[in-house]
């Protein structure tokens, strides 16, 4: 009974320990020259530009749903005039960042996990190391940095699409100019409402990039191992993004009241 409980627990702590060592190696590789700028720009394009349509679509859909749901609830409580503010605050505070984090963890997490796992099982990562090139520097650092740098920008894109489609859904029911929607929505808002929630997604980016690279580069076995790495990259990065969000929301409320 004790053993059946201790086995998974040991594995869990072992996984965390290995992740910590991996993170330390990545940090060391990131701060020592030479820097792989060409690979970083390639990853910025792969992770940023390629994720943009999906993130924009998810943000837009969220804006529509928020508008429909909020309209129904606020009308019931006689607070319909607060509808633009409710949409704006929901989008920029929470739904934009978390939807972006989850969409990117699905698309990019799976991609990085599968790509690196495939390189690992075909000995390509060993070949990089045998060529006296640091695989952490060449493979992990550019991917993780690209995730960290692109998540806030993608979040802004998701926010913008969410607000536009939130307004469209609202305007279709009750005519309202976009200017008026934005003016009412941002009334009383300041940079503390936009910047901390947007920049918290850098932590999401770190989690997604780190876990996907870690799961990919430690893969064992053939095609099954690649599949496991892709799945676990998505599952674990999504889970840790949600958990990190809980902590970050609390911290933002404390430091940016």
């Amino acid at each position: 009974m004790v053993n059946s409980f201790m086995g998974p627990l040991n594995k869990f702590f072992e996984w965390f320990g290995d992740l910590g060592i991996f993170f330390w190696r990545v940090v060391r590789a990131a701060v020592t020259p030479p820097f792989e700028f060409r690979e970083l720009f390639r990853q910025l394009d792969e992770i940023g530009s390629m994720s943009l349509p999906l993130v924009a679509l998810a943000g837009a859909a969220t804006g529509v749903v928020l508008s429909l749901e909020a309209r129904y609830s606020l009308t019931r409580f006689g607070a319909k005039s607060l509808l633009p503010a409710a949409i704006v605050f929901s989008v920029i505070h929470e739904t934009g960042p978390i939807i972006t984090g989850l969409v990117v963890s699905g698309r990019v997490g799976a991609g990085i996990g599968a790509e690196l796992a495939s390189m690992k099982v075909t000995e390509q990562i060993d070949a990089i190391e045998a060529s006296a090139v640091n695989p952490y520097k060449l493979l992990a650092v550019p991917r993780i940095l690209a995730c960290v740098l692109m998540l806030p920008l993608l979040t802004l894109a998701a926010d913008l699409c969410g607000l536009i489609m939130g307004w469209v859904a609202q305007a279709l029911v009750e005519p309202l100019s976009f200017h008026q929607f934005i003016t009412n929505g941002f009334n009383g808002a300041d940079f503390n409402d936009l910047l901390p929630p947007t920049f918290k997604t850098m932590v999401f980016g770190l989690i997604i990039g780190l876990i996907a690279c870690f799961q990919g580069m430690r893969t064992q076995g053939g095609a099954a191992g690649v599949g496991r790495a892709a799945t676990s990259s998505v599952v674990l990065s999504s889970l840790f993004v949600i958990l990190a969000d809980v902590v970050l929301v609390k911290l933002i409320l404390i430091f940016f009241p």
Binding site: T122, E123, A127, S131
Partner: protein
């Protein structure tokens, strides 16, 4: 069989090195979990010499090569490259040693997102930054010509055969002009003609570059062709080491059985 000139060159090189082996493996132990793979193996290879490591599948031959290049860490024992123990070296120090080593992986391990040309250029781009693009391109062309792949620069690894991939892998291994060459099953999975071509290529490269080479193989015919010495390993240690005739003359039961089935 070496020509008189080649023997003279080897002797001269060994004297220049003071007779010290380029690769010296001493009492090496390695286990994975409960499975003991290497059990106190010791080997030495000098400059210009080729050692073939033979043995049954799963006896740790490939692990031995991975330990020599530092992709795995030994449980105990030492690997000395040019007299320097690689255990405990920092990654950048190990990198300096790896630049002197070429490694051909069993399945070539070419980077599947890069063309043949980019694969061979990879070590040059990272370690010969003073080389201009045209110099790198010339060097890649020369390396690919050396392995008979000059007409396939733009192809992707998935578009060429296994034998061709190994040739490209060899060209990539030679890019930094190493003085150590490690070959993991260079003829495995190839038809007899392609395997013979790889053997001839290894012999030619060895004659031109005078590297210290270790070839891990199942293929006794290949080992006999390209190696100066053969080491047969079983249960993680060397059973016998010598030339082919010495193996043939052995009365050790495992050696006789191995030769009978080869």
């Amino acid at each position: 069989m070496d020509t008189i000139d080649q023997v003279a060159v080897k002797r001269e090189e060994t004297e220049k090195d003071g007779g010290a082996p380029v690769i010296a493996v001493e009492d090496l132990h390695k286990s994975f979990g409960n499975q003991k793979v290497l059990n106190g193996i010791s080997l030495a290879v000098s400059r210009g010499e080729t050692l073939a490591v033979l043995g049954r599948s799963g006896t740790g031959k490939s692990v031995l090569l991975r330990l020599i290049i530092g992709l795995e860490k030994p449980d105990s024992g030492s690997v000395r490259i040019h007299g320097q123990d690689i255990a405990g070296l920092a990654l950048d120090q190990l990198g300096e040693i790896r630049k002197k080593m070429g490694f051909l992986f069993q399945h070539a391990a070419l980077y599947d997102s890069l063309t043949v040309e980019q694969n061979v250029a990879f070590p040059l781009q990272h370690h010969k930054k003073t080389m201009s693009k045209s110099e790198q391109s010339d060097r890649v062309g020369a390396l690919l010509a050396e392995v008979g792949m000059e007409g396939h620069l733009e192809k992707m690894p998935s578009d060429i055969s296994g034998g061709m991939q190994k040739r490209v892998g060899l060209a990539r291994a030679l890019a930094l002009e190493p003085d150590i060459l490690l070959l993991d099953e260079p003829t495995a999975g190839l038809d007899p003609i392609s395997a013979g071509e790889i053997d001839d290529l290894v012999l030619k490269l060895q004659a031109e570059h005078h590297m210290a080479s270790i070839v891990v193989t199942h293929d006794l015919h290949s080992a006999k062709t390209i190696a100066d010495r053969l080491a047969l390993i079983n249960e993680g240690d060397v059973v016998i080491e010598g030339n082919f005739e010495e193996l043939q003359g052995s009365d050790i039961e495992f050696v006789r059985e191995f030769l009978r089935h080869s």
